[in-house]
């Protein structure tokens, strides 16, 4: 690849790429993001490659292995153009039909189309599927259009034009002002104004400055940072280069989870390509600005997503948080001025530079601008990654984009912001999603996790689960988080075993308060959120566990019993065979009997029963 020595040269190269693209040529984009790969996308890719070659038409069809398209529920996804047709749940066996019917004869393969769970209607085009229709995919949209390991794809979509614009005629101050005007706020969770952070780093004294990309995404169920790094690494890289230029940093780091091998690989490839093209390294695009980036792989601690712990970890020491009375922008990595931003924050930068701060600041709410990527998971029909403007209501997100609750069950709560966020009840579904509003109700935007729960979810159990996660991941440095969290977990375990007392609830609130006020870092300060919000919005569930020794959702094993309805039981013997402990007895075609003494409450009987004869109480 040729080294570009000026912005003009880059633009010339971009034009040459665009000229070479035959827009009429059919193309197949197979999503090979995390979800689709897990459901067999790689086999689909090899089937395409094999069959296209067998048919001798591989030269006529453009096959792309892309990053995550977001609609993981329906994966593996195959997007075909022209026409922007989306095929869902594609298997190896479908590939021949897709080639013969759609690619060669331009006919739709009906069985692979998305079926709207509400109307039952088949939808052909990606943009018409409700899941995509309500989204505003600014950062995430290009994921499905490019091969993440090919810089030419990124260039063809306008990549590095923001960097060229900056180097061609924007001073560092101008860039910072633009970011300030856009009112972009950090997407890692805390929502600190990005422009202000950059400004204080720029003003801080120091000959060496650093920029860091926080890609230590560790919340259960969150994978937006991963999908961006895997699917569009150059976007994040471009943002970092622009950030480094504006604050005067010469070295950057990306701290990425070691559990994300593809993200590490694709980002490293992007670094190499950018270096070869003169977009990274010495004298970027012929200017006197030089900047380099190193990839640092995390060692598997959740707390290293916390900025001071992350910095300590890069320094080669134990990744534990430090008190932060002096901001990293002033004294960060190796005590030098450092800008640390999340993957999604960096990814927003090129967009703002290209389309202007004014455009960006018109999206979203008064206090929270732009879009946010949420990972929608749990008991919702359309799980996946969704990018929506800030301010969209929870209801729209869950019921329109998410397609409502699985199997038509009743919505109970939604947990936003990962394990440190809070559970929001049905009464607050019209809440607009932004930093302030979520904080007001005791939750947060956080990393963008969104776990939907229905009537089969026990809120005490949920609080226990999230607390056990934060407790497991507490570094143990400060007393409130280490000891307080452990005591809270013990109390919750007692309650779910039916051994709770009413005064436990007061104790939970008291310990939560101490953890929130006195913990050293955000992990401990936020860990009580799931407990506090469930206590606030679902007190009756706690009381039912404590006083009546009942778990209405049928989750807490010590408090439930499986019962066989003699009216409904046909004596088919399915439950009898499925029971691992032999607790069910009964002759064929006679009513079966469950021995509570032997029952371990695994729920197999209920799952296999075809006559709804097994119930839980």
């Amino acid at each position: 690849m040729m080294k570009m020595t000026s912005p003009a040269e880059l633009e010339k190269y971009r034009s040459s790429i665009l000229e070479g693209i035959d827009s009429g040529r059919p193309s197949v984009s197979v999503c090979c993001g995390t979800g689709c790969s897990a459901s067999g996308a790689l086999e689909v890719v090899s089937a395409f490659e094999r069959l296209l070659e067998e048919k001798g038409i591989q030269a006529n069809i453009n096959t792309k292995i892309t990053g995550c398209h977001g609609f993981c529920e329906q994966g593996p996804l195959v997007l075909l153009s022209p026409g922007n047709r989306l095929y869902c749940k594609v298997t190896e066996e479908d590939v021949d039909d897709i080639i013969e019917e759609t690619l060669l004869a331009n006919r739709v393969v009906e069985r692979l189309l998305f079926v709207d769970p509400v109307t039952g209607e088949k939808i052909e085009k990606e943009e018409e599927i409700p899941f995509y229709k309500k989204q505003l995919r600014l950062i995430f949209g290009d994921n499905g259009k490019m091969v993440p390991t090919d810089i030419r794809d990124y260039l063809s979509l306008g990549g590095y034009s923001a960097l060229a614009k900056v180097l061609k005629g924007m001073g560092p101050q101008e860039v910072i002002q633009e970011i300030k005007n856009s009112r972009l706020r950090g997407r890692g969770g805390a929502g600190f104004p990005t422009g202000l952070k950059w400004e204080s780093c720029d003003k801080a004294e120091g000959d060496i400055k650093y920029v860091i990309c926080n890609a230590d995404e560790g919340d259960p169920g969150c994978f937006q940072d991963r999908s961006l790094l895997e699917g569009n690494p150059h976007l994040v890289l471009e943002g970092m280069i622009i950030g480094a230029y504006s604050v005067g940093a010469s070295q950057g780091y990306i701290y990425v989870r070691n559990e994300y091998p593809l993200a590490v690989k694709n980002f490293s490839t992007a670094l190499e390509q950018a270096r070869e093209m003169g977009l990274l390294g010495e004298n970027i695009l012929g200017s006197d600005f030089s900047f380099n980036i190193k990839v640092v792989r995390g060692g598997g601690a959740f707390v290293c997503g916390e900025s001071s712990a992350l910095i300590t970890s890069i320094e080669g020491r134990i990744g534990e948080p430090r008190y932060k009375f002096v901001h990293a922008a002033e004294k960060g990595l190796w005590d030098r001025p450092t800008v640390l931003n999340n993957v999604k924050t960096w990814a927003a930068v090129p967009l703002i530079i290209n389309r202007g701060a004014e455009w960006f600041s018109e999206i979203g709410t008064e206090q929270s601008k732009g879009t946010m990527i949420f990972s929608l998971t749990g008991k919702v029909n359309n799980t996946g990654l969704v990018e929506v403007p800030m301010g969209i209501s929870l209801r729209e997100l869950i019921f329109e984009i998410g397609g409502g609750i699985l199997e038509g069950r009743k919505f109970k709560a939604v947990q936003t912001g990962g394990p440190s966020g809070g559970c929001i009840p049905e009464g607050l579904l019209n809440l607009p999603l932004d930093f302030e509003k979520l904080a007001e109700v005791g939750s947060m935007v956080g990393s963008g996790g969104m776990i939907v729960m229905d009537e089969t979810t026990c809120m005490v159990d949920v609080a226990k689960y999230f607390l056990s996660f934060t407790q497991e991941e507490s570094c143990g440095k400060c007393v409130p988080c280490r000891e307080g969290g452990e005591h809270m977990l013990k109390i919750l375990e007692r309650i779910t075993r039916g051994e709770g007392e009413e005064r436990d609830l007061e104790l939970l609130k008291e310990i939560s308060d101490t953890m929130q006020c006195a913990s050293l870092c955000a992990l401990g300060k936020l860990a009580p959120n799931p407990v506090l919000t469930t206590l606030k919005y679902f007190p009756e569930e706690y009381l039912a566990h404590i006083k009546d020794k009942k778990c209405s959702a049928g989750v807490c094993k010590e408090l439930i019993e499986y019962l066989i309805d003699p009216e409904a039981c046909t004596g088919c013997g399915r439950c009898l065979k499925a029971c691992p402990t032999g607790a069910i007895s009964g002759e064929k075609e006679a009513v079966h009997i469950l021995d509570q003494e032997q029952c371990i409450k695994c729920g197999n009987c209920m799952e296999v029963c075809r006559f709804d004869a097994v119930s839980v109480e």
Partner: protein, 266 residues
């Protein structure tokens, strides 16, 4: 010059890099601490030194051990009901962890813990927990002695201090500074013959024997390191402190200890 108020009293300082804790203590205002030691950098782990800092409309709770005094006009409260509650909770946590440690018991009753509401940490029957994880030992070893013979291992509830792989650390110079700073007595040192045992680190140190009187007195392997670090005389590993003093006095030639008579030599 920065002027702030602590508990309503106006206090001025022109000392740079002074922390709230240092300033308060210098004014005779007591703030409890556990993981703080004046020879070490602030660590901020025990959270007992929390204070309320109000600047403008915002009040925040911070650890005073590390909070720099640099904003003029802030007002600090060191003993509000909220702070008392936090400290009491922290001592309840520590008491549940180390129910047998006198120092923790005393601190707990001093900070208002009256009843045991939390279950004690479960350990095998013959064991009690003696470590409060203040980290003083780890930090004195690193920051003052310049060795990192011990470190925190594991995380969360499993966190503990240990030598690498729970076996004798090659870096340990046997100085027992860790034992000296430990507030709970969890680090035990025993000496027998020419051996010194530091029990939690599974460490055995050979001591050198005094050439004059024959007692064992200094760790053999610390020799040159501590000599350079602490500016000790070259013969410090040959003679025990008493004999060294004696010899020094003799060579300086002022006193004759053997006769117990004071004779001025020429």
């Amino acid at each position: 010059m920065v002027s702030i108020t602590i508990n309503g009293r106006e206090i001025k300082t022109d000392q740079e890099d002074i922390t709230l804790l240092q300033l308060a203590r210098s004014e005779g205002i007591g703030i409890p601490t556990l993981c703080f030691h004046k020879a070490l950098l602030p660590y901020g782990a025990c959270r007992l030194c929390v204070v309320e800092v109000t600047g403008g409309q915002n009040t925040k709770i911070v650890n005073s051990c590390a909070y720099p005094v640099r904003e003029d006009g802030i007002s600090v409260q060191t003993n509000t009901p909220k702070l008392k509650q936090i400290r009491k909770n922290i001592l309840e946590f520590l008491l549940a962890r180390c129910p047998e440690i006198d120092m923790v018991k005393k601190m707990a009753s001093g900070l208002g813990v009256k009843e045991k509401r939390l279950p004690e940490k479960s350990l095998p029957e013959d064991q009690t927990e003696e470590c409060v994880l203040c980290g003083l030992c780890v930090r004195v070893c690193g920051e003052v002695i310049g060795k990192e013979a011990i470190s925190f291992v594991h995380r969360g509830a499993e966190r503990e201090v240990a030598a690498p792989f729970y076996s004798q650390s090659k870096d340990c110079v046997g100085c027992t500074a860790c034992h000296f700073v430990c507030p709970t007595g969890a680090i035990k040192v025993k000496e027998s013959g020419n051996k010194r045992f530091i029990s939690p680190w599974n460490t055995e140190i050979t001591l050198v024997t005094c050439e004059m009187c024959g007692i064992s007195f200094a760790p053999e392997n610390s020799g040159e390191y501590l000599q350079a670090k602490l500016g000790l005389p070259a013969e410090w590993l040959k003679l025990c402190p008493q004999c060294r003093r004696k010899v020094a006095a003799e060579t300086m030639g002022k006193y004759d200890f053997t006769s117990r008579n004071v004779i001025l030599k020429k």
